[in-house]
Amino acid sequence: MELTAENTAVVVDSTADFPDAQARFPNWRVVPLYVLFGDESFRDYVELPAADFYARLRTSSVMPTTSQPTPGDFASVYEELAGYERVYSFHLSAKFSGTWESAKLGAGEKVGRRIRVVDTESASLGITLLGLGVQRRLEQGTTDEEIETLVDAFKRDAGLVFTVDTLEFLARGGRIGRAQAWAGELLSIKPILTIDDGEIVPVKRVRGNKKAFAEFTKTVEERTVDRPSLRVAIAHAAAPERERALRSMIRDVRPSAQIEAAGMLGPVVGTHAGPGAVGFFWFDDS
């Protein structure tokens, strides 16, 4: 069966940090997770825009927590997409969240057949980079096999590095993974982190933002090749100046690369990364 943007829908959860997905592509949907400040619950982005979230975080006396969408949330979106012959649903690493499980439950008996639910083993704009790769193929006509090959290539080759101002947020949310070893450090250190096998892994620790930035540059130079198939994305948590700096760095060292997405980390991802976090994602879709 030939899959096209007309007969195949793409679903992501809100941790893909691509809130405009449906506005850009009619065949896309975003299923929001929830962010909670005490008893108050908000649907990620929909009821609490990212900028409002960071403003609230600064003044709130309670720290936010998050929860995954219910299977029902997924079921209703999948029902809405009943007119599509195929649905690809891409999600946050199952090691961080029950979102992927929830999506599978929501797909019910159709899971694996009409509805394909994928653990991307990534997060944030990493999920979006994969979704956009799928969309490019759908727009030219593709097959399940090609998409499966693409997903495998993404899991194998795509990369990301990110840094946070403090590991406290990752630790509090229980998402710190192997960076646990660096938690509780007293010196002000910028940890350079990545996600490997769906889990947060420490790469290096450096002093100060300038050295963190230099480390990002070094990673780009070592891990990518300058060509048009190189797709990159930049996300930040209320630190637009860092996004701008990374953007100009990419233009300098990888002028042929396409910056596919750039923007603010949403409330749910921001809850776990904390203000000041900045991430760089890449996928060479050749």
Binding site: E185, L186, L187, R205, V206, G208, K210, K211
Partner: protein
């Protein structure tokens, strides 16, 4: 007399002689900063020999020689202690193998001692203890054939050693500039003086009166007691001596100073309450400070135990670091150092302490951060002896060690970590602010005792009465080359630095500054720029 008894007598005399001159030798620092006091280091090294011989059993001479060699090696503190341990080793090998102890054997032993000392240092420098021991050996060789009695021969050796010591400033510019003799050489001369007294039966001549011990010096001694207790007693007609006698029964490291109206008391004891009662019986007490010297160790061991449980087997290498100051210790632990050996400035750990630390860690391999120029050799010696592969990253300061530690990866081998850490310290510039411990003129810079002294890469840069001016000058020198991060570790009782930091932020808006309470003694500020 048995060989053992004779050896005890000789070593005891050497120790007594060195002990008597220890404060004078400690003051022979090139720079007026408290930096690994040579007299203390050598005295503690010899004391470890005395202690080993106290428990040793009499046996054949080669076995005794082995005991002595081993004890000196394990007890060696600081660079001077390490070189002394090599001198002991060289001499012990010859004396242990000799049938009789005549002048020829003594000359041969001194030559072996000198050769071992030169071999022990990577780049031998003349004008140091090396010159003194070599000239002593030459003197003994020149007189070996003259059939002098060993006592007479040793006396000639001593005189030659004193002459060589007196010439050390001619050979080493840094000694001449600082107007001091080489401290290690001075220590060796005192050891030989003790030996001469023991062999000839003459009374030991002490060169200078020992100044009274300060609180600081007393803290250099390790205590078997748990609580460091200090307080002030105020009253009328206070009798310091009687208080001292009663306190003696309670513990050690005792110090009672003051006059009839006020006495400052310091004691290490297991019963601080009893010590305080002795005070209240005489007057009003105030300024009570009781520190549990065991609790820190216990807390750390607890933390280590949980850390080990959390990360079972993925640590390939662990870090042992020599650190002074409670705040610095916490910084090092938070960055993953598995074991901290207390010490650094003015208290250099012994080789044995470093060996214990290396062998006590969980991982298969160890990286050692000596964090002081005067600990690097003991660390290398410890690595050579320890039953575990250990690599030394030659960090010369606590602040440089922190940068090295940042590059540490527990999952990497010691040699991989060594490489990454060496690279890291290559990018660090260091400075410090201390108080000059005596008058000095260095590189045309005149500094008076008690003035603030600014150091750049351990060398004097600036001195003066104003802390802010001296600290600013050091910081400006550090930031004159491109650096984007500056770490400041504040010392025990350091002056406030808020205004200073504000000025730095104005002049260098791009530099990120991280201030941490280090709590190190002697150094108001330790500064690193990367």
């Amino acid at each position: 007399m048995s060989d053992l008894a004779e050896l005890r007598r000789l070593v005891g005399a050497a120790a007594a002689s060195l002990e008597a001159s220890r404060p004078r030798i400690d003051d022979l620092n090139v720079y007026p900063v408290p930096d690994g006091d040579t007299g203390t280091n050598m005295a503690l090294t010899v004391r470890s020999l005395v202690e080993a011989l106290e428990t040793a059993e009499d046996g054949p001479r080669p076995a005794l020689a082995h005991t002595v060699t081993r004890a000196a090696l394990m007890g060696a503190r600081g660079n001077s202690g390490v070189i002394l341990s090599q001198i002991v080793r060289g001499a012990a090998e010859v004396l242990g193998a000799a049938e009789t102890l005549d002048s020829a054997v003594v000359a041969e032993a001194l030559r072996a001692a000198s050769d071992a000392a030169y071999r022990g240092v990577r780049q031998p420098v003349e004008g140091t203890i090396l010159t003194v021991v070599r000239e002593m050996a030459e003197e003994a060789e020149a007189r070996a054939a003259s059939e002098l009695a060993p006592g007479e021969l040793l006396r000639a050796v001593l005189e030659r050693g004193e002459a060589a010591l007196a010439r050390t400033p001619e050979l080493l510019d840094v000694l001449r500039d600082a107007n001091v003799l080489d401290a290690g050489g001075a220590g060796l001369v005192e050891i030989v003086r003790g030996l001469v007294a023991a062999v000839t039966g003459e009374e030991l001549t002490v060169r200078a009166p020992a100044p009274t011990l300060g609180l600081e010096a007393i803290h250099r001694e390790l205590s078997e007691f748990r609580y460091c207790t200090a307080f002030l007693v105020e009253g009328a007609g206070l009798d310091g001596e009687s208080l001292e006698r009663e306190l003696e029964a309670l513990g050690d490291s005792l110090l009672v100073v003051g006059d009839e109206s006020a006495l400052k008391v310091h004691v290490h004891t297991d019963d601080p309450g009893a010590a305080l009662s002795l005070g209240t019986a005489r007057g009003a007490i105030s300024g009570v400070e009781i520190a549990d010297m065991h609790v820190q160790t216990a807390q750390r061991e607890e933390r280590l135990a949980t850390a080990v449980l959390a990360t079972p087997s993925d640590r390939v290498s662990d870090v042992v670091a020599v650190v002074a100051g409670a705040g610095n210790r916490r910084l090092y632990e938070s960055l993953g150092a598995a074991r901290i050996v207390e010490g650094g400035q003015s208290m250099n750990p012994s080789t044995a302490e470093l060996v214990d630390a290396i062998e006590g860690i969980q991982a298969r391999e160890v990286v050692v951060l000596p964090n002081n120029a005067n600990v690097i050799m003991s660390a290398e010696q410890a690595a050579a002896i320890a039953g575990k592969p250990a690599r030394i990253v030659p960090t010369r300061s606590i602040q440089a060690g922190l940068s090295a530690l940042l590059a540490y990866d527990p999952g990497a081998t010691a040699s991989e970590n060594e490489e990454a850490m060496r690279e890291a310290i290559g990018a660090v510039a260091t400075g410090a602010v201390t108080t000059a411990s005596r008058d000095v003129e260095l590189n045309g810079l005149k500094i008076q005792e008690g003035q603030y002294l600014g150091l750049l890469e351990e060398e004097p840069l600036v001195g003066g009465e104003s802390f802010d001016e001296v600290a600013s000058a050091v910081i400006e020198a550090l930031l004159s080359s491109p650096h984007d991060t500056m770490t400041v570790l504040t010392g025990e009782g350091a002056p406030g630095i808020d205004d200073l930091l504000e000025a730095v932020a104005m002049r260098h808006p791009d530099v990120e500054v991280d201030v941490q309470p280090g709590g190190q003694p002697h150094y108001h500020l330790l500064i690193a720029a990367e």
